[in-house]
């Protein structure tokens, strides 16, 4: 291990802590520094905050509306569950009224009145909690309905444009691959996303893309399949998507869809040789 000639100062140790790279020795030294200088805790919080800001620079990818509806569905279910039962408060004071008939009733009137008032208040409180829970459920259901309606509208419009894709999807043996753009689009800092559908070993390929730029006539996207990391990617056809983001084509080789470990999409010219690929545009997770 390389040792630095100067021991790191407390701020270096704080940075190291946030980066999770402290050695046990450095950790001891930081603990000691924190004991001596409690304000260093605020330094840790500040460095942690700065590190957590990095994602503000990542290309934005829009989550589907379906995701929101899934989350609020789970929330609705959690609200709908009965509240955890609590141990009942002892009711001895109520029992004592019936179990001591010979006592002087008048002496107990104030206590009885207080108890009745307390019970009444508790009942009102319970009702309020129930009403609040019900209104929360209503709001959650409304959110869910709104999200579902938005999703329905989107799906209806897609239904018209993607009859072929839907037929393909209805076949249970169709596999779907997710692809993500490797860089963000300069115009809006977003990354393209796509799903590619194919039956294993079938040369028919369907791709549905979001935020994938439309290409001019002198450019085309090409699909490549990686069978194993040690083998060169195999050319699997080229495409341009239509206005709805969909493209369908026939791959030159059935091996393209035979359980590839990764799929790649590159940007090429239609006349480029298929022995080499242009810049990488999208890839699936390997």
């Amino acid at each position: 291990m390389t040792r630095s000639t100067h021991p790191p100062n407390p701020t270096d140790l704080v940075a190291g802590y946030v980066l999770n790279d402290l050695s046990p020795e450095e950790s001891d030294r930081l603990n000691q520094a924190l004991a001596e200088t409690p304000t260093l805790h605020a330094e840790i919080a500040s460095f942690t905050e700065a590190f957590s800001l990095l994602p503000y620079d990542v290309p934005i990818v829009e989550p589907s509306t379906h995701l929101k509806s899934k989350i609020f569905n789970a929330v609705t279910q959690s609200i709908g569950q009965p509240a955890p039962t609590r141990p009942q408060p002892p009711t001895a004071h109520v029992v004592s009224i019936t179990s001591a008939p010979r006592r002087n009733w008048k002496r107990w009137y104030p206590a009885i009145s207080t108890s009745i008032a307390a019970i009444a208040l508790a009942t009102i409180g319970l009702n309020q909690i129930q009403i609040r829970r019900q209104s929360q459920q209503t709001i959650a259901l409304q959110q869910q309905v709104e999200a579902t309606n938005t999703e329905l509208t989107r799906l209806r419009s897609e239904l018209q444009a993607n009859q072929g894709t839907i037929a393909l999807l209805s076949q249970s043996y169709t596999r779907a691959y997710s692809l993500i753009g490797v860089t963000s689009l300069p115009q809006n800092s977003r990354r393209a996303a796509a799903r590619l559908f194919a039956k294993p070993g079938d040369r028919n390929v369907t791709l549905v893309a979001q935020a994938l730029p439309k290409l001019p006539i002198n450019q085309i996207y090409r699909l490549w399949a990686v069978a194993t990391p040690s083998v060169a990617p195999m050319y699997c056809g080229q495409f341009r998507q239509d206005d709805s983001g969909t493209a369908q084509w026939v791959a030159p080789n059935a091996a393209c869809t035979k359980n590839p470990s990764q799929l790649l999409i590159t940007l090429d010219a239609p006349s480029d040789p298929i022995t080499s690929a242009g810049p990488l545009v999208m890839r699936s997770s390997s």
């Binding site: 950790s27 460095f47 905050e49 620079d57 990542v58 995701l67």
Partner: protein, 192 residues
């Protein structure tokens, strides 16, 4: 008797939204989701490179805050920072579980619960402006330093793994990463 926080809207601060989430107001979760879901989801996509898993992590992140709101302490940092950190941690756990040589991130415990009030000004800066300020701050770093921080953040590689992969002595990697983070913090000092 518990008092309900006032209803939230798109203009509410993160703290107001959080207090309403604590009171189990669904509308608050809705506002929070609209404010941060893209950032949370994009962070997960960046780390996982997989749409389905990124959706799962996004769902887990928001539901976790809803179901166990006590896991966030407003006096210890921003809500957005908390959400992003939770997203990163869950995404990296998934990333590591993909590889056989999985090593859990084992953070060395530092004294525990000693953080005094820390309320960074980031909450009062609009989302778009935050992105601009972070991009400007990152421009002040060399591309190598930036790459180092991004590798540590998104790939979850330890310093020794980065050193091994890039063929650079561990001491050099450590010192460069720390300097890079110090520079970033300094460039973002008006936010953190």
């Amino acid at each position: 008797m518990d008092s309900m926080p006032p209803p939230v809207n798109e203009q509410s601060t993160d703290l107001q939204i959080f207090l309403s989430i604590q009171a189990q107001q669904v509308k608050a979760l809705d506002v929070l989701y609209d404010r941060y879901s893209k950032l949370v989801y994009s962070t997960a996509v960046q780390i996982l490179n997989n749409i389905e898993e990124a959706e799962e992590v996004t769902q887990e992140t928001f539901l976790r805050l809803w179901q166990r709101s006590e896991i966030y302490q407003p006096n210890r940092g921003s809500l957005s920072g908390f959400l992003i950190t939770l997203t990163r941690s869950r995404s990296l756990d998934r990333l590591r579980s993909r590889s056989a040589s999985q090593q859990k991130l084992q953070r060395i415990q530092i004294l525990g619960e000693c953080v005094s009030d820390y309320n960074p000004p980031i909450e009062f800066v609009a989302m778009q402006e935050r992105s601009t300020l972070v991009r400007e701050a990152l421009k002040q770093l060399s591309s190598d330093d930036r790459q180092l921080l991004e590798t540590a953040y998104y790939e979850g590689l330890s310093q020794s793994e980065i050193a091994k992969r890039d063929g650079i002595p561990l001491g050099t990697i450590k010192s460069r990463s720390r300097q890079a983070l110090k520079k970033l913090r300094s460039a973002l000092n008006h936010l953190v």
